[in-house]
Symmetry: C2
Subunit: 142 residues, 2 copies
């Protein structure tokens, strides 16, 4: 760890979620809690990067949870105030220094730069920042 | 998808990897290909967020792969030029519009803001941008 390392970087929206979920309060907290189908709509500039995606692919969608707070380091798990606060890095709260969302979804349709996915709990208009294949149930990478 | 959405965001390094891996060419491509133990060293400002982390925790480390190229939309899988090029979003290449790294690691030691982890293929000085618990082998979140 050197003091010359850069401390911030620019992350770009490469697309946005289109979903019937518009309300943070009523949206499911996890995909297996009744999340609907949704569209991932990518920017025309990244279309080439999608060309190998096929229906049936299991992918990790990475989003920027732009409605989250970035100044919280402790939270009640699942927002339940009857549970003791924990450090945010031990929770999946969207409120964290970098509000990155990870979502495992199945591609069920491909229409150019629009991908239809099953069971996505992200809100409408959530920025998309990356999409990766799942490797052997592991998520390590380089 | 509306035209008023913000198109970029500032992602902050909340810490850095300390590893014996310093050379992109000789580093393993995946954690199960001989990756060593390493330290995750966090900034003092986020220490509170780590307070519930314990040895034995299985976590998803999210990094910013600052030595990657951001202008590539097609790559040869695993850098093997004998394999046909694919869209980057169907690969785990570090070269992609937002060079985000996902690494599944086990915490094996906690010393204040330094976490020891097993099997990390990230290079020395790679910026850390988030840390999340693994939920039921799924990686969805909100």
């Amino acid at each position: 760890m050197t003091k010359t390392n850069r401390k911030s970087f620019e992350v770009k929206a490469i697309g946005w979620v289109e979903s019937s979920l518009t309300d943070l309060e009523s949206a499911p907290r996890q995909a297996d809690e009744g999340a609907p189908e949704a569209w991932l709509v990518f920017q025309p500039e990244v279309l080439e990067g999608l060309r190998s995606i096929r229906p049936g692919d299991q992918v990790i969608l990475i989003t920027w949870l732009d409605r989250a707070r970035r100044d919280m380091l402790s939270v009640h798990p699942r927002g339940d105030t009857s549970r003791p606060e924990e450090g945010v890095f031990s929770t999946r709260s969207s409120h964290r220094p970098n509000p990155i969302g990870l979502h495992r979804v199945e591609i069920i349709g491909v229409e150019g730069r629009r991908l239809r996915v099953r069971h996505l709990e992200a809100l409408d208009k959530t920025p998309i920042i990356d999409l990766k294949p799942i490797l052997n149930e592991d998520i390590s990478q380089r």
